[in-house]
Symmetry: C2
Amino acid sequence: MAGIFYGVGVGPGDPELLTLKAINAIKAADVIIAPRTEKKDESTAFTIAKPYIQENTQILELVFPMNYNAQALSEAWVNNKNTILGLLEAGKKVIFLTLGDPMLYSTYMYVFRLLEDCGHEIVNIPGVNSFCAIGNRLGVPLAEGGDILSIIPATIDEERLEQVLQVSDNVVLMKVYKNFAQIVDKLNKHGMTENAVMVSKCGLEGEEIFHDLSGAVNDQKVNYLSTILTKRSKVSKHALA
Amino acid sequence: MAGIFYGVGVGPGDPELLTLKAINAIKAADVIIAPRTEKKDESTAFTIAKPYIQENTQILELVFPMNYNAQALSEAWVNNKNTILGLLEAGKKVIFLTLGDPMLYSTYMYVFRLLEDCGHEIVNIPGVNSFCAIGNRLGVPLAEGGDILSIIPATIDEERLEQVLQVSDNVVLMKVYKNFAQIVDKLNKHGMTENAVMVSKCGLEGEEIFHDLSGAVNDQKVNYLSTILTKRSKVSKHALA
């Protein structure tokens, strides 16, 4: 009997923003893995999916350490792989939940790599990205016409950040909690503060929207689930051209 | 009685990839606008949503010319605005469907701008992007760790394309049918052909996947709904650093 492994994107936070395909997979699951990592994303994903999880579905807590190395798998990763393979060999439908989309900055990609050659069917189900949810929530276009949109993990080094801001019309900055002051400084330099908006915990309890980024950093610590959307203001565009 | 206007993202093609929120809005709609433009996206969006459209829902065909100008609205745009406002004033729930996500390269953004200050409630419902669907379909990560992902309309000028390829780790090229040969040439130059994959009509009837881009251009015309995903190969990354 052949099992199936599912990587399921649960979207940005609102349980109504799961796709029908994701909901159907969750409802039909035998086992749902509730991963524990340094990232808080995974437990959030579990909370979002909860309304669709059936009573007889097994919830399996597994610890996935962040130090994934395909060549030298740590003991925890080897154990997790064996546990999942055991379930698949018993013909189970096993689900790994991911916040947003499974193929964009997720832990799931490492789990997928671990299993992709194991001979069992794997189904990846896409999800709505947090930055799309934010754009729709605020009525702010992410990109139009000939705009270049760059998705940037704010943790990249300064020089690269500088370069990518220079060539992009619109940007999405993810993981901005780590070096928020530096990010605001760079956006200022590129005339991208005027149109900037930051959303923390979009669609989740405790959602906050900041139209003035300098206010955001003075008043409180920036939340882990915070994203900035911005675009070059028209004047600066001409000045740089 | 106050109407509500909905911008609904129907996702990339598979009717199961609509969100529950989108499905519920479509089921509850009084009127669904079936826009006609030069773009083929809109009629595709209608086909995707069809399984959820109720028998008593009115389908309204409107022509939205591409030459939108907020300062000098053409007669067609003024007429459409008045038609929609009339429906909203009659308390109707009116839906405008968009392929993918409403805030990313859509005609809907212009309709949204036309109506956003009209005093009626507007609800934007995000959708799954085509590039996420492609990444999940193929098991190809769009971005991981500190990767910069740039979404590029392939119609931008050569110099800008050159610049953005240079600073991005991973790219999504949209609308590649217009200048496909030039795009392949640039990807070659930046060591991004090796990892490239093009998908036409992802999740739709007639879906095609091309792992060899040179083969794709020789054999046939490139379809309108074609997207390229690629990343810099490791070797070139070092060579450029």
